[in-house]
Amino acid sequence: MSENKKEEIIKVNHITKRYDDNSVLEDFSLSVYEGEVVVIVGPSGCGKSTILRIMNGLEPIQKGEVTYRGEKVDGKLGSITRIREKVGMVFQSYELFPHKTILQNVMLAPVLVQKRDKKEVKEEALQLLARVGLAEKKDSYPRQLSGGQKQRVAIVRALCMHPEVLLFDEVTAALDPEMVREVLEVILSLAKEGKTMVIVTHEMAFAEAIADRVIFLDAGQIEEEGTAEEFFRHPKSERAKQFLNSFTYEKK
């Protein structure tokens, strides 16, 4: 595949992840290449969130190694903050900072962590907010925004750090249906720009539209992997077929 020529950005290499005695991932490997959109789908509890959290060092692992451009990703190492600047994450529950305005939410980390010039960051933040249609909300507080608006701010907040990879963990799962589209469209536009992304989602139509590569996960194993076309049109495994069938009423 053409991906192999591209540079490997995140490499999850034969890792084992357990919570106490409960083994979630066993000898699991996955690489993310520059410019690709990897979509991870699978039934609830199969370990999708865990994988994303491991990719930016939020979750310790018991065996194996995760690297970002060859550098070890480990929540306990001092280098982790530098890596996290480059690996942005957006959460299902938005997690905006409620005591800060929208603009402050977006500006905080670039100024505090990256020590960038305030004026320059502000300009960029306003541009990004305008891009997602929220320029006029800059002085509002998160509580004054709808779920969809909050999630768009969360994406902008991650973008303002100039990350190389973005991790999305079911970012529309908490939203009312009519707000899902406004958020997904922002993510689709990022894909068009060639941003590298790892997306966990239950929105199958969206997954099909955006994915360069689909990973179907079941019980902590990669059950099937392929292009969007391959996975959604011609699933090979029984499990994948079953899984996709469970969504069909949504598509009709």
Partner: protein
């Protein structure tokens, strides 16, 4: 009611109120510092210190201030640590208040932590940046109502200072009643002066509460 008597007592009450305020203010400031410190130690489960803080909080929350003051004022000198009455009052108040403030602030910290921390970490912040910019401001905002309630509680508690012969409001009232038997006037003044201390605190507390909670809760 004899207004002339009241007029002549006013300066004494005024002086007593200043004493109550002076000791109360120092005690409360240290109570907050001590409380925040203990809350952090407990929240981050720092070994040994966390257990010590736990014991301290249990002991001081479960004994009356009067007993604590007696202990500090009468027992400490016996083991060679003499202590001034006003210092003792402030210390007692700080220790009692610290125990209450600690629990208040800890529950504030607990209600914020978790995924807010993760979201801040994922933006590349280090632990101390997360604490100072994300956890603390929110925990503090959430704790303000209980902080204010604690402060009012502590100011009321100062009425036992008279037991270690500090000439506070209570002492002054009791003393004057004992000397001149003007009970009604003395007690009326006592109520008025306590209200004079506590109502402004309550009003200011309300304001502060609304101010710090504005961002998050909008009320």
């Amino acid at each position: 009611m004899n207004w002339e008597v009241i007029g002549s007592y006013l300066p004494l009450y005024w002086k007593a109120m200043l004493l109550t305020l002076r000791i109360g203010w120092i005690g409360i400031v240290f109570a907050i510092l001590l409380g925040v410190l203990c809350a952090i130690v407990r929240f981050y489960k720092i070994p040994v210190l966390s257990q010590l803080a736990g014991v301290y909080i249990e002991v001081f929350r479960n004994t009356p201030l009067l007993v604590q003051l007696f202990f500090l004022y009468f027992a400490l000198p016996k083991i060679g640590i003499p202590i001034r009455a006003d210092f003792c009052g402030a210390l007692g108040l700080a220790l009692l208040g610290g125990a209450y403030m600690a629990e208040t602030f800890r529950s504030g910290l607990e209600s914020v932590a978790g995924i807010q921390t993760e979201s801040a970490l994922s933006l590349g912040m280090n632990k101390s940046q997360v604490v100072t910019h994300i956890i603390f401001p929110q925990a503090f905002a959430r704790s303000v109502p209980s902080f204010v309630a604690n402060i009012i509680f502590l100011l009321k508690e100062t009425s036992v200072f008279s037991a270690i012969s500090l000439m506070d409001l209570m002492f002054t009232a009791k003393d004057l009643i004992g000397l001149y038997y003007k009970t009604t006037e003395c007690l009326t003044l006592l109520v008025v002066f306590y209200a004079l201390i506590l109502i402004p605190v309550s009003v200011l507390g309300d304001r502060l509460e609304r101010r710090v909670r504005h961002a998050e809760f909008g009320d």
